[in-house]
């Protein structure tokens, strides 16, 4: 078995004004071939006008086991949302 070919994550910007969005992954020996493959695999029907490729190994992800402690505390902080505050109708739209 030969050495494994590295994995890359592919991000595509559908059009100017939008953010690059993760669309999938692929294997390629280097960044040049990763970009070429990303173009062939993920943009055959005008899906975008810009591609980012990132080595998968360079991504640090949050731990799903810590999902609760990471993200649940925001659920009870309803005072962070505008609808928490009562503004009389006479004041108009705010």
């Amino acid at each position: 078995m030969t050495a494994t070919t590295p994995l890359w994550e592919v991000f595509i910007r559908p059009r100017n004004g939008l953010a690059h969005k993760h669309v999938g992954s692929l294997h390629a020996a280097d960044e040049v071939m990763a970009l070429q493959s990303a173009r062939d695999v993920y943009t055959r029907r005008g899906e975008g006008n810009s591609i980012w490729v990132v080595p998968s190994a360079a991504i640090t992800a949050s731990d799903p086991d810590q999902t609760a402690e990471n993200f649940e505390p925001t659920a009870d902080k309803i005072y962070r949302h505008p609808t928490f505050y009562e503004i009389p109708d006479e004041v108009g739209h705010m």
Partner: protein, 327 residues
């Protein structure tokens, strides 16, 4: 799909009843399961097998159609067929990526395909004998695949569902271009119409077999349904396919090669004749007419491409070393 860290990882889980119950609650609440989430080992194994088989089917599926690219009757047909075969390659890649998030490597999956350990759809072990087969494969085989794949867009495993959404968007073109080919032949000379009919005769039953054994004989169905990997049973999907396809054949003036086929008013669908399951199992187990050729072709592609993969890695290494030296 951040799979690199997972490759080769031990996917075993402590499957206490509480664990399985907690998992099932998430499934029942229609929550998507993502690669790093806890999941029963059986769920992971089922998905690796299913997504792997699906990916292999896309890749092997390029062969019967690739067979006709150089002999397409017009530039329009050739461009469409090339685009379709390229799509199949792309679909295989999306699916391999989805499977890799479950901790299996591309190399392992490729080796399983080449060694015959991994299965792929039985349909691709039939030969494509005439140009009409390019039409029939698109119309029936891609049509059957779409029936299977649309519910998979709602599969409980996130990466598989996302891959299937991309695949389904592209698959509709495949079926329509196939139907157009058959239609052109069916409305052509008597010889062309006969070619279309002959093709339908050969592909009809293998297409019905694509949905797998009857529900009563399907080993993996119940658990897959409970885990929402599958949303409809084999027989339900087969029935949908028949009901959708019969009127399409009637429009073309072609005859479905099943003397028992008739409309059943009470169930609001067609009844069909018995399926030759002996043939199905023979083909699944690698005795289909083209099974040896298909694997031989994949093996040749893999072996002949070895120097390219090695050279690409060596080149990448050289560039990296040069860059470091220049810093």
């Amino acid at each position: 799909m951040y799979s690199q860290g997972l490759i080769g990882a031990d996917g075993r889980t402590e499957e206490t009843p509480e664990f399985l119950e907690r998992f099932q609650r998430r499934i029942d609440a229609e929550e998507k399961i993502e690669p790093k989430d806890e999941m029963p080992e059986g769920y992971r194994r089922t998905l690796v097998r299913q997504i792997g088989q699906h990916a292999h089917s896309e890749i092997v599926g390029m062969l019967p159609e690739g067979n006709w690219i150089t002999r397409a009757p017009s530039l329009r047909r050739k461009a469409a067929l090339l685009a379709k075969v390229q799509d199949e390659g792309g679909h295989g890649l999306y699916l391999y990526s989805a499977a890799e998030t479950l901790g299996v490597s591309r190399e392992e999956m490729t080796e399983e395909l080449l060694s015959g350990k991994a299965k792929y759809s039985s349909i691709f072990n039939y030969p494509t004998l005439s140009w009409a087969d390019m039409g029939t494969v698109g119309w029936l085989v891609d049509g059957a695949a779409i029936m299977n794949q649309i519910p998979l867009c709602r599969c409980s495993f996130g990466p598989y569902a996302r891959a299937m959404i991309r695949v389904c968007k592209e698959e509709s073109f495949h079926q329509r271009q196939g139907y157009e080919i058959v239609m052109t032949l069916a409305q052509g000379t008597p010889a062309q119409k006969a070619m279309a009919q002959d093709s339908l005769n050969r592909w009809w039953w293998p297409s019905l077999m694509m949905f797998g054994p009857h529900d009563a004989d399907s080993q993996h169905s119940d658990q897959s349904m409970a885990w929402k990997i599958k949303r409809f049973t084999n027989d339900e999907l087969r029935q949908k396919f028949i009901d959708a396809t019969v009127p399409q054949a009637e429009y073309l003036g072609l005859t479905i090669p099943d003397p028992d086929l008739k409309w059943n008013e009470a169930k609001g669908g067609y009844d069909h004749g018995p399926i030759d399951w002996d043939e199905f199992w023979r083909v699944v187990k690698g005795h289909g007419p083209m099974a040896k050729d298909r694997i031989k072709a994949r093996k040749k592609a893999w072996d002949d491409g070895a120097w390219v993969r090695e050279a690409a890695l060596a080149h990448a290494e050289k560039r990296r070393a040069r860059k470091i030296a220049a810093e």
